[in-house]
Amino acid sequence: MDLVSPGIGLIFWSTLFFLLLLFILGKFAWPSILTAIRARNESIKQALKAADRAKEEMKKLQADNEKIIAEAREERNAMLREAKEIKEKLIAEAREQASDEAKKIVKSARESIKSEKRAAINEMKEQMARLSVDIAEKILRKKLEDTKEQKSLVEKLISEADLN
């Protein structure tokens, strides 16, 4: 029974000690400890949130980067393709142009040859005419060296010519 009957002395001292402890710790220890812990928890929470945000941003950035790289690659490929096409087109055009030119050259050459030929023929004709005139002159001169012959010829020519 003694064990479960509280003694006045111990009640007094434990009340005193506990109140003292509660007062001093409640005034000087708990507030600063709890504030510090809460502040740290808050800062950790904020830091974690910020880290999450940064991670997300980085992911977005990475995705953007990849997109940009893919676009760049696509563009490069397109450019290459285009260049190839242009090259081929140029070559084809050049070839065509060259053959055209060649044809033109050949044609003009042919024409000039033709005209040269014609000119040559004309000249030849002229020269032959002159030569034959010269020859005829020379022959005539020879024939007409004597007067009799000249007379016969004139008569002959006159008879030939129709005076009617």
Binding site: M1, D2, L3, V4, S5, P6, G7, I8, G9, L10, I11, F12, W13, S14, T15, F17, F18, L20, L21, L22, I24, L25, G26, F28, A29, W30, P31, S32, I33, L34, T35, A36, I37, A39, R40, S43
Partner: protein
């Protein structure tokens, strides 16, 4: 400044208050002489457990255990082979309606001596057990009519409680200081050890039971009571001076703590709480004569259960450990010490758990009762 001053003042106060009328570690020569005198005069020996007549030690487990469980005016440290005791004599502070205040060392009362009309009581008187209590007697050796003096002595329990208060103040004031210094950087040293416990009290005890809005007001009380009980539980498990006193296993201490919880619960009770007691919602009016007494009894049973739970758990733990140790002396065999020691160590491990558990339960239930006293409107 103020902080340091209070810490220093409290330490000085406690040290002086404790040591002033105390005479630590008695000189053994005079002590043993006293013993011899006591033996020859045939006076009953107070710190018994020895059969003086036969000279052979008679071990009484019940007495041995009760001596350790109960509070005491002197702190018995050991008994030497020649029968002399080494004790710390704590100050006795008495208020008697017969003769007023008295302060003296408990050494004056040792071995059945009478000092200023006071002596250690023995046996029964008027249905009261006087064993271990200080009684006042007149010239003829009869008890005075005014009854027992009020005993405010610095007993074993008071002394250890003082020590625990000093330790708690020192630990937590330095902790607060270190928080002020380091701010919100990572916890270091003592912080790392105590911070999880503080956070545990806050997040797992206070917030779930009292609620997010109001819990902050009660944090100082819950933290103080948690660490006070925890430290005294743990100190009670250390079997060396100045530890090992059964503070939280003393009904007066647990009663004081339970009364604090009761007062806080009652004074923080809101309208809903009182309405629940005097006009329980959903109960017909004609049941009120039954319901109101039941509810009022309920107000008291809650802290009463707190008081009994802590007292019984800690006392039971001490009794088990002491019983296991007693087995060695009951069997009077050194071989018994092996199983006894194994079991004692096992029990102490469990007691370590119980020390934390009981501190936790007391705090948890205090928080729960405080939370119940402030029901939200939507509960109705």
């Amino acid at each position: 400044m103020t902080l340091r001053f209070i810490a220093a003042a409290s330490i000085v106060f406690f040290t002086f208050g404790t040591l002033f009328p105390t005479e630590v570690l008695q000189a053994q020569t005079s002590h043993s002489q006293e013993d011899v005198q006591n033996q020859t005069s045939g006076e009953a020996h107070q710190t018994s457990g020895h059969d003086q007549e036969s000279g052979e030690e008679e071990f009484v487990a019940n007495k041995f255990i009760m001596e350790h469980i109960k509070d005491s005016h002197e702190w018995h440290i050991l008994t030497k082979k020649d029968g002399t005791h080494v004790s710390v004599y704590l100050p006795v502070i008495l208020y008697s309606r017969h003769s007023g205040f008295h302060v003296f060392s408990s050494k004056k009362l040792a071995h059945g001596h009478t000092h200023r009309g006071f002596r250690m009581g023995q046996g029964q008187a008027e249905g009261k057990n006087l064993e271990g209590k200080i009684v006042e007697v007149d010239q003829n050796g009869e008890l005075v009519e005014e009854g027992l003096p009020l005993d405010f002595s610095i007993t074993k329990n008071v002394f250890m409680m003082m020590l625990s208060v000093v330790i708690l103040l020192w630990v937590f004031l330095s902790l607060a200081k270190s928080y002020k210094r380091t701010g919100i950087s990572e916890p270091r040293g003592l912080q790392g050890f105590l911070e999880p416990v503080v956070v545990f009290v806050e997040e797992d005890i206070a917030i779930p039971n009292i609620g997010e809005e109001k819990y902050q007001r009660y944090m100082p009380y819950l933290l103080t009571i948690f660490f006070f009980i925890l430290l005294n539980n743990l100190m009670g498990l250390i079997p060396f001076f100045p530890f090992g006193a059964n503070v939280t296993g003393n009904i007066a201490v647990t009663m004081t703590l339970a009364v604090f919880t009761f007062l806080i619960t009652t004074f923080s009770g809101n309208k809903g709480y009182w309405r629940h007691i005097f006009n329980t919602p959903g109960v017909p009016v004609w049941l009120a004569p039954i319901m109101i007494p039941v509810e009022i009894i309920g107000m008291f049973t809650k802290p009463f259960a707190l008081m009994i739970r802590l007292f019984a758990n800690i006392t039971a733990g001490h009794i088990i450990v002491l019983s296991l140790i007693s087995m060695i002396f009951i069997f009077k065999s050194i071989f018994m010490s092996v199983p006894s020691l194994v079991m004692v160590i096992f029990m102490l491990c469990i007691e370590l758990l119980v020390a934390f558990l009981q501190a936790y339960i007391f705090t948890l239930l205090s928080a729960l009762f405080i939370g119940l006293a402030m029901p939200e409107h939507h509960h109705e």
